[in-house]
């Protein structure tokens, strides 16, 4: 019963060019649809195409470039393409993780937008058969002075906490940044990490003909219809008006869904499983069929709905949360249903697999859609969009920078600046201890959780420095990966793999596309050099308001392994008298540094270049020192430079430091505040310091003594000492004061 050429279905309008445009499809894309199916689509079909062919689902602008990312390594079980990436950590265990953006919804309704972002990424992870063990989040907001910023911070943070805390997974790390370029487009990138057995990982591809397709979870409502298309459209002045129905998260329902899913997986009931994310039923059903080389027929009369009178179009595009689609073993159907009923969740057989490779949707006795299932995905337009490389910026020579204030004042100012200050106000709203496995809480270099009863531990981090990416996309992409790598090494973990979340502006603009291409190439280069493959990711484009794009923000979520979590290293100083050492070269790069921006008022220059060979060797060296118990504290050096890193180590412990003067060859400010890469600060017992230096010399790694732990101030020889109390007030003070409306 195919759809005849001229059928006009119940209540469905004729397709007009306006309607096509409203669905975010370009005229040539619509022509492609006509050519593909040989007739005018029904409205439901148009909706299905718009969902499948928008940027969010089809990756049409990014696909060609993402192919360049390294995705393989002996420990990679599943790379990009599934709900989440999977890596092997030995002992029959696998780590499943992914990061995803929920930027646009979080701008429109920060609490619910952030909430559903966390819910969605958790589902991606447990869909694969993993129990979530930790979350992270990278959030970027506009200028603190912008009238909307405070409201967005407050809503997003409450929302991330609201969902994760209630669901019962610890949030152990993340990143919080401010910049005026996010004024109209804040970013919410949520990452979830789960643990599974290597022999019971579940995938989306259906298999077998005539298999029941089961709908599980919450009921379908008119939530977020057009959410996926919205995520692929630029905002204009009127975006406040065009508010789509907002999706609301239900963490309690998701907790039940998790337990029910894991239980039926244990009972071996599941052939294939796919969560309903963006464009819900459409994307999940098409993917299950297409990946399994099968057709799918859906009967929408069977779909559990929350509202009456929902049309086929609405059901196919609804983004109601906490829902799953599964193909079950027919003989296990009853068992699976009993489990779902026990957990109080909806369970309905809504379709079956067919040999036809067609995607057929029935509703109220009509065929509302009849489309070739493979082509829906495979024939989606792919663009190799024109791009121009970002112009190279001049290198700023340290000697040419004039310094408006003393080192002591600069340190105090920097440590209390929005980007460098403590994010305690944020992470104290996240339950970071639930589960009783959190070995390192937020506030250090990477979160560390114990795996089951140990001895293994998992380290994780989320990083990117958008101002570097803007100044030089290639170096910036490299740097994001390198920083994630460094944060993992700093706690003693072997970096294993990353997930990336690529947030950019409008790819139809060649400059933006140039940023994208540059960053992806940088990421690829770094991943290759560091043996740090990409196993999952997400692309969010069109982050622009009134023609102004966000800073290019390719967030990198890194995961690393500790064979013995008891050996995990923290960044706070440990004992007075310990020797402080610098690992890495310190020529003093001030271009794009926070010192230059916050103290000198100049957001300028080329960012620090990243030598990947150095990153790799210095990282391995630091891990070795930790394993050999030769160091007492480790911290990587990133934003703010060496002196900021030292201040952070002091603030984490309440112990100060006495430091030698900068070497004569480097201007003092550049030495202390430059943002050269591949550097770490380590401390060692005085008796071990010489051994560490000798080991470094033997390995050909630059290392030098900086001073000694002790006292209640950061005291650089020849400079005014800064009391820790003063630094602490600045560090801990800014964010709470700002949120209280006092900064």
């Amino acid at each position: 019963m195919a759809i005849a050429k001229d059928t006009l279905l119940r209540n469905e309008p004729r397709i007009t060019p306006e309607l096509v445009a409203e669905h975010g499809l370009k005229p040539d894309e619509y022509q492609r649809i006509l050519d593909l199916i040989g007739r005018e689509p029904t409205l439901t079909e148009l909706g299905i195409f718009s969902a499948m062919w928008n940027e969010h689902c089809s990756y049409k602008s990014s696909k060609v470039h993402l192919r360049g990312l390294p995705t393989e390594a002996p420990w990679v079980i599943q790379g990009p393409g599934e709900n989440a990436g999977v890596i092997d950590i030995g002992d029959g265990l696998a780590v499943v993780f992914k990061m995803e953006s929920h930027n646009h919804p979080s701008f429109i309704e920060p609490y619910q937008g952030a909430t559903t972002g966390v819910g969605g990424i958790l589902r991606d992870v447990f869909t694969m058969g993993a129990r979530p063990i930790a979350c992270l989040n990278a959030i970027s907001f506009g200028d603190p002075k912008h009238p909307k910023t405070r409201h967005l911070v407050s809503g997003v943070v409450a929302g991330i906490g609201g969902y994760g805390n209630s669901f019962g997974v610890p949030t152990v790390g993340g990143q919080t940044r401010f910049h005026t370029r996010y004024d109209g487009n804040n970013l919410v990138n949520a990452m979830a990490v789960g643990l599974a057995r290597t022999d019971s990982i579940f995938y989306a591809a259906a298999s077998g003909v005539g298999m029941p397709i089961v709908y599980l979870g919450s009921k379908t409502g008119r939530d977020g219809i057009h959410g996926a298309s919205m995520a692929s459209a630029e905002f204009g002045e009127d975006s406040e008006e065009k508010r789509p129905t907002v999706q609301v998260g239900d963490p309690f329902a998701e907790k039940l869904l998790l337990e029910a899913c894991l239980e039926i997986m244990r009972k071996d009931c599941v052939i294939a499983i796919q969560d309903m994310g963006a464009a819900g039923l459409t994307c999940s059903a098409v993917e299950m069929g297409a990946k399994g080389d099968l057709g799918v027929t859906l009967d929408l009369d069977k779909v559990p709905t929350r509202e009456t009178g929902m049309s086929a179009y609405e059901m196919m595009l609804s983004e109601s949360q906490e829902r799953m689609l599964m193909v079950l073993r027919p003989e296990k159907e009853q068992e699976a249903e009993d489990i779902f009923r026990k957990w109080g969740l909806d369970f309905a057989i809504v379709g079956e697999t067919t040999p036809t490779k067609r995607f057929i949707v029935r509703h109220g006795g009509d065929v509302m859609a009849d489309l070739p299932i493979k082509e829906l995905g495979d024939e989606a337009p792919v663009y190799n969009r024109p791009f121009v490389e970002s112009p190279k910026l001049p290198v700023i020579h340290a000697g040419d920078v004039t310094h408006p204030m003393s080192m002591a004042d600069a340190l105090e100012r920097l440590i209390g600046s929005p980007d460098l200050c403590s994010k305690r106000w944020v992470w104290e709203q996240y339950d970071h201890i639930i589960g009783g496995n959190t070995v390192q809480r937020p506030g250090g270099d990477a979160g560390v959780v114990r795996i089951e009863d140990g001895p293994k531990g998992l380290a994780m981090t989320a990083d990117v420095t958008p101002r570097y990416c803007e100044a030089d996309p290639f170096e910036g992409g490299k740097q994001a990966v390198a920083e994630a790598y460094r944060n993992l090494c700093a706690v003693g973990a072997l970096p294993l793999a990353i997930t990336d979340n690529l947030n950019f502006g409008n790819p139809e603009k060649p400059e933006i596309m140039g940023q994208f291409v540059g960053c992806v190439r940088g990421i690829a280069a770094a991943c290759k050099a560091l043996d740090f493959p990409v196993v999952s990711g997400n692309v969010s484009l069109y982050n622009e308001t009134n023609g102004r794009a966000i800073l290019p923000t390719p967030t990198i979520g890194g995961v690393g392994l500790l064979n013995d979590f008891m050996k995990s290293m923290s960044s706070g100083f440990k004992d007075s008298g310990d020797t402080i050492l610098l690992i890495g070269e310190n020529p003093g790069w001030l271009g794009q540094s926070l010192y230059l921006r916050e103290i000198c008022g100049r957001e300028e220059g080329a960012p620090p270049p990243v030598d990947l060979e150095h990153e790799k060797r210095h990282g391995a060296f630091v891990r070795r020192l930790i394993l050999d118990s030769q160091v007492t504290a480790v911290h990587d050096i990133s934003d703010g430079g060496l002196l900021v890193a030292l201040a952070e180590m002091a603030l984490a412990s309440g112990l100060g430091a006495t430091l030698d003067a900068a070497p004569a060859a480097v201007p003092a400010q550049a030495f202390w505040f430059g943002e050269d890469q591949a550097r770490y600060v380590v401390t060692a017992k005085a008796a071990d310091a010489e051994k560490v230096l000798a080991k470094a010399t033997a390995a050909g790694i630059p290392a030098r003594t900086l001073g000694t732990v002790g006292g209640k101030a950061i005291a650089v020889k020849g400079e005014k000492a800064v009391p820790l109390a003063t630094l602490n007030a600045a560090f801990e003070g800014w964010l709470p004061a700002y949120m209280a409306g006092k900064a």
Partner: protein
Amino acid sequence: MKARVTVTLKSGILDPQGKAIEGALRSLGVEGVASVRQGKVFDIELEGTTDRAKAEAALKAAADKLLANTVIENYRIEVVG
């Protein structure tokens, strides 16, 4: 002057709390509950004004700016005297 602002979820917006309460009422044996939706009330005392219209304008501002999230909620203002 006293007033009450009642904030309710727009129809079609999922109400997880209401849903959970619905289920709980049923299992407590309260019969005939078809659906529950939860909202908020704010009982506000205003001082320094006796002008009803002024009060209503102030309350409307309060509701728009803070009490209601107009993306997902509706509100109603009653000045009770």
